[in-house]
Structure formats: structure tokens, C-alpha cells
Point group: none
Chain length 134, copies 4
Amino acid sequence: MDVYINLDFESNEPIYTQLMHQIIAGIAKKELKPGDALPSVRSLAADIGINLHTVNKAYQQLKQEGFILIHRQKGVVINPDGVPQADDQYMNNLTSTLHPIIAESICRGLSKEQVLQLTGELYENFTKKEGGDK
Amino acid sequence: MDVYINLDFESNEPIYTQLMHQIIAGIAKKELKPGDALPSVRSLAADIGINLHTVNKAYQQLKQEGFILIHRQKGVVINPDGVPQADDQYMNNLTSTLHPIIAESICRGLSKEQVLQLTGELYENFTKKEGGDK
Amino acid sequence: MDVYINLDFESNEPIYTQLMHQIIAGIAKKELKPGDALPSVRSLAADIGINLHTVNKAYQQLKQEGFILIHRQKGVVINPDGVPQADDQYMNNLTSTLHPIIAESICRGLSKEQVLQLTGELYENFTKKEGGDK
Amino acid sequence: MDVYINLDFESNEPIYTQLMHQIIAGIAKKELKPGDALPSVRSLAADIGINLHTVNKAYQQLKQEGFILIHRQKGVVINPDGVPQADDQYMNNLTSTLHPIIAESICRGLSKEQVLQLTGELYENFTKKEGGDK
DNA sequence: GTGGTCTAGACCACG
DNA sequence: GTGGTCTAGACCACA
């Protein structure tokens, strides 16, 4: 069962980033499991109608962050050892990423409970079977 | 009482974005209150040693999002009516921003509780007096 | 004082790798010091007559390994904090890199002394003033 | 007595290169001696579960460098006359191979002594009986 | 067939 | 001006 890739070509978010996010989301939802094969650079690029270099950039970055392995000719697979667990560096990044987001949510009048509820719901959506994607 | 601006010129985050975030954080912490005056584009640019255009871009964007008002002669002030409260569009944006962040946190093995705790702590840091910002 | 870039377009070694090696050699020889500016992607590409993407790839990799920083618009500089020092991972890589090289040198009849002398000379060539490059 | 072949299919190093290195290491350790027979292309490929072409490529390259002889019917043997000793071309190759490796080790803060010690240890590991290879 | 490299030209965001 | 992104097409190494 494949993961459906949904790209927004109008978005400011680079396509290769969107692709990365979708694959990471697939892993989070367990639709992609360690060891699973991913489509080749060329076939995925053809499928979603983008350039193979764009797909390649997404794959390279996912590889560099430990989500996937790129075998020489065997293609691309989800890291069989699982994704590297959170370390200090990741937690720092996560904190600085969330920092401005939460600042704005406070300015916009969201209560702590609202923020936590939204966050919790998003988290659960990944862990539910048949979790509704965006 | 001024907000201290701390820019990281080596970050991937654009400087104008960092500037926006710092001002928004100042508002979230109530260090900047509705009606408070902000430095002029020129003086702020000179103070922190960056390009006029960069400060201008940050201000324009903050104005466009309703955080500040820019009067021709009276200068720049925090929106006296307060920041526009969360609407549907903002909530959608917030959701799509958080979505990939939470997806990765799940992949990296963070529990729901860990995510909620981090989020909660960040939220509280803004509402505490003398909240320790970075 | 600039570092002279000498590329071998006939070599099997990718051009971007050669470029990386030359810059690393420049750092080893102290011709490039922490904080020093490097040419922009475009100007270096024009200077040595290769595509800007090839230069970019070398720069990106050097950045990823901590040798250089890429400022948004200020251009490229040698990491002012110095290059990340050897860690376990680097030592493991170094060992597996040297392993087959030394194996072959043994088969070819080089004595331990010969290998150590060659290694030592190469090391010294970097630390000498006016060290003779290849 | 056979040499144990250990391939890493996730490495960036081509499989045929890994195979060559393992055979060369076997010769360096004297586990493979001049005149010793090597498995045929077919049987070796079957044993380690890789493509015929891959084994063939490794053998052809080893032959071309003088490590082995390939007789049409008699099979593959380690060169009975021993491996060609170091000539100028080999020394030049060795030097340019080591050059960038040592440059990086200097950047990463390794002292000359550390480099020589590592090199020496690796050398000794091949000449010791029961040398602990990876 | 696969991914890796290189080239080339275009547009955009940033400062 | 800078780097970042995307596209496009080519050749090669690998299995």
C-alpha cells in the first residue's frame, strides 16, 4: 500500500521539503515501516510530475537525517534500524522551531489549553489507524 | 523598556523573519503592549546593523498581519486595538505548520506527553514575568 | 592571498570532490584561516570554468561537515570556530579508509617504515610554510 | 582456508570495490598466498549472493593490477609470482590518495603522532598472526 | 534498470 | 549582488 503524495505547487514551501514532510508523515503513521521500499527517484518523479533532481534532493536530505537508506542499485528503503531517536540537538531545534509559533499563538489569543489540545489532536491523528491526513 | 534583538546571521532563517519573531515574542511576553512605539525603520536598522530593506520588510509583514500600525509621521506602534485574534485561516495555517513538526517528533520517538510538556513549558515561558527567553 | 584551485577534469574523482579536497588542503596549510571569505558560488564557478551547481555541491558538503559557513547573502566563510575536531565517527571512517590502502601497500612490498615515512612527509608538507602542493 | 567476505550493501563503496579490498586484505594477511586458488566467478557470486557481473568486475580489476591470474579452465589463482612491487606510478597514486586524507586529519586536529600511530597499528594488524580484522 | 555527476538556464528570496 | 530552488537533458558507474 502506497503513500499518497499531495504536493501544493503554489505553496512557498519548496517541493522537496513538502515531499520530505509527506514521507516523514507516512513513517509517523506507520504506513511506511522500517525496511519498506520507496519508489525510485525516476519513477516517483514521473508519478508526481516533477523533476528527478527535486525528488533526489528530498531523498538525499532524508538519508542525511537517517530516515532512509539509499542502496546503490537496490533503490531506497526506510531505515531498517528505525529513525534516529531524539537527541539534544534535535530537541534544541524543535524548541527553537516551536518558540515563534507559540509566541504568535499567544498573541492571537489562544489559551494554553487550546494549544495543547490542537497539538494533542495532531499527535493522535498520526497514531490512529486510518488517521486523516491534511 | 525595549526588547533586546538577538539575530543569528548564520542561521538559515531569514533575518527579517527573525526580527518579526522577536517582536512577536516581545508582544507575547507583554514587554510590548498595544500602543507602544517601536523604533523607526532607520534607527532600528542602524542599531542592529542591518539593511534598511530588511527592517522594512519585517515591519511591512507585521503590519500586514495586524501586529503593528505604521503611521507616516507618527512612526510605528503596536496595534492599539490588540493583535487580531485567531480566525479560521490562522488556525489552518497553524495546523499545517505543526503537522510536519509533530510527524517528525513521533518518528524520533517522542511520546505525546513529551510533546505536550515541551509545548506547555514554552507557552508558560511567555506568560511568566521575567520569562527566560533565549 | 587566494588558494589556487587545480582540477583534473580527466580524473575519475568527481570535480566537486576535488574542489572540496583543495579547500580542505588550503585549511590544513593555513592558507585559509577561520573567518576567511571564500569566493561566491558564481564567481568561483566562472573562475575555474565549471558549473555553479558543481561548486555549490562542494560548498554544501563542506558546510555539512562543518568546514565552512554559508551566510545568507554575505557569502561563504571558513568556519570561524574552527573545524570540528576528530570524534569517534571520524576516527572510524578514517580507519576504514586507511585499511584497504595499507593492505595494498603491504602487498606491494612496502615496509612499515616506508609507509610511515610517506605519511609523515605528507603531514609535514601541510604544516611547512610554502608547503609544496601536489 | 578461505577468506571470509563481509560486504556492506548499504555502503557508498561499490560492492566490487569492497570485494577487491577483502581479497587484497587476505593477501596482505597471508591468508591468501601466491598460487592459492580462488572460487570461480559463479560460485563466489552464488556464495555471497551478488551478481555475476560484480564478481567478474572485481576479478578483472584484480587481474589488471596483477594480484591474480585468470586461466580459462584452471580457474582463478593468486599471482604465483607474487604481487607486482611498488613502482613509481603506484607511489604517485598512493601519494595522491593519502594527500586529502591527511589534509582532513590535520584540519580535525590530529597530531602527526596520532596519524603515524594509527597508520602503524593498521599495518601491524595485517602482519600479526590472527590479526583482528573487522 | 538504478543512482551519481555535470551542465545549463530560469526564477525567486534575501539584503 | 548573493544563495536557493526547480527544470531539463546528458553521460557514466553500478548491479
